[in-house]
């Protein structure tokens, strides 16, 4: 699947705006992503597996607030910085 990386996280992905993702759930996708780009997961998801307050994650056209959802290879995962702070 495709994962869209916002500018503030591209220092982890060699400045790539789109990277490939792998996994059967969103949790697996972020674990695998962190194995390739160490440190990226903790900037997005805290130690209680909660998506951080000012981060938004969308799978296709649906915003998700949990990692416990199934995903398919055809899905597109988008990470956004929330419009917080004006």
């Amino acid at each position: 699947m495709k994962i869209l990386i916002p500018t503030l996280l591209r220092s982890y992905t060699d400045e790539r705006s789109v990277v490939e993702g792998h996994g059967a759930t969103l949790a697996e996708v972020f674990t695998e992503l962190d194995a390739r780009y160490p440190g990226i997961r903790f900037r997005i998801i805290d130690e209680q597996d909660v998506i951080r307050r000012h981060i938004r994650i969308w799978v296709n056209k649906h915003e998700v607030r949990t990692l416990k959802i199934p995903v398919a290879a055809s899905d597109e995962v988008m990470i956004f910085q929330a419009l917080s702070g004006g």
């Binding site: 503030l8 903790f42 900037r43 997005i44 805290d46 130690e47 209680q48 951080r52």
Partner: protein, 395 residues
């Protein structure tokens, strides 16, 4: 009052080389480097541009290869917190593999998450590579690999008394409750102190496995019980490296001194001028004279403006352990100087005479090469300054 004079013959030789100020700001980090005379200053940076840098600390110890590790605690408005490491004084940085994080709790329970690392302290001289970090919300973490990975000090973080000691979210600063002032006794790596806003001061004698509050005599005027066992709001605590039984504390409710093995703090801020009061954030100590210390008072009246009283900024120095205080404002604005100096934003070098430095929330850095007698603004227009650490680049 005891004067704590150390015989001059036993003092280490003061350095005379260039000084660096490690400046952490709300929008990045900077390093100000002086010449040998500490007269000309050059700014390097910004590093971590746009990131919130809470503290940047250079290891007081040196590796066999002569390297001193530099750590920076950073976060951003959107991303989670991390720790970055440099082995070339900030030219290049790498990120910690596992930054401070609380243990994951069982499904269905609400767990803690580190909002940011607020304070960094190198470990004992006999334990190279060991560091401590204090976080928001209050948590204590230890690294034994030079900041690469961090483990929870469970004796504190998972202590059954943790919730009572630390209070709730409303008991913290506007930026969240914090652990700070992590102190390692230079005589004993097992002997630690930490302080919290809020929570007060705590002591461990077994490397963090168990803790005791040590707050007797410290006022908490925001509670119905004015002198509780814990729950005070310690702003900054310092231990004198050459007199490690002497502790000084700038608290939300005054300036205090404690001499161990005593357990009751004495309010030395009562000796400050009444119209100035003894509220502030930072407190710094003379590197060789345990009786000399500086504070930077702020307005803690009415709605707590947290600026210089009456818009007239000044440091105050005591040379007799807080028995008397003297105003030091030469070179500082005589009026309309609405400074706030945060708890990590005042520092001293080790020269003779000692250089004293502070950074303001308005992005200015002020320096005094003569122990506070004369102040000079050496940088303006930086972002809001969170921390200033003075370090010696060479003897």
């Amino acid at each position: 009052m005891k004067t704590d004079k150390t015989p001059r013959s036993s003092l280490p030789r003061p350095p005379a080389g260039a000084v660096a100020l490690l400046v952490a700001t709300r929008k990045g980090a900077f390093i100000l480097r002086s010449d040998k005379a500490r007269e000309a200053w050059r700014i390097v940076g910004p590093m971590f541009f746009g990131h919130v840098v809470h503290h940047m600390v250079l290891d007081s110890r040196q590796s066999a290869k002569g390297v001193r590790t530099l750590l920076a605690a950073t976060s951003t408005g959107h991303l989670g917190p991390t720790i970055s490491r440099s082995f070339d004084l900030g030219k290049t940085w790498s990120e910690a593999k596992s930054p401070p994080a609380f243990a994951k709790v069982a499904e269905g329970l609400k767990g803690r998450a580190v909002g940011h690392t607020f304070w960094l302290t190198p470990g004992h001289a006999s334990e190279p590579g060991t560091w401590y970090a204090g976080t928001s919300p209050q948590g204590l973490f230890r690294s034994e690999d030079d900041g690469e990975s961090w483990a929870s000090v469970t004796g504190f973080n998972d202590n059954p008394m943790y919730a009572s000691w630390t209070g709730g979210e409303q008991d913290g600063t506007p930026d969240g409750p914090k652990m700070h002032s992590i102190i390692v006794d230079p005589r004993d790596p097992r002997h630690l102190y930490v302080a919290m806003s809020s929570g007060g001061v705590f002591e461990s004698r077994d490397r963090g496995a168990s803790w005791k509050p040590i707050n007797a005599g410290v006022l908490a005027d925001f509670r119905p019980d004015k002198y509780p066992e814990f729950g005070q709001d310690a702003h900054c605590v310092r231990l004198h490296p050459l007199a490690p039984d002497v502790l000084y504390q700038q608290n939300h409710c005054g300036i205090y001194r404690l001499e161990r093995p005593g357990v009751k703090w004495q309010r030395i801020g009562e000796n400050m001028p009444r119209k100035i009061g003894d509220i502030g954030f930072p407190i710094v100590l003379h590197p060789r004279d345990p009786a000399t210390l500086w504070v930077f008072p702020m307005d803690g009246g009415t709605v707590w403006p947290r600026t210089s009283p009456d818009g007239k900024p000044a440091a105050y120095v005591s040379r007799n352990s807080g028995g008397t205080w003297r105003r030091q404002d030469s070179g500082l604005p005589k009026r309309h100087g609405w400074f706030t100096v945060k708890r990590q934003a005042m520092s001293v070098d080790a020269h003779d005479p000692v250089g004293v430095y502070f950074g303001t929330t308005g992005g200015e850095i002020w320096a005094s090469p003569d122990e506070g007698e004369e102040w000079l603004c050496i940088a303006r227009h930086l972002p809001e300054i969170y921390a200033v650490e003075a370090v010696e680049l060479a003897r």
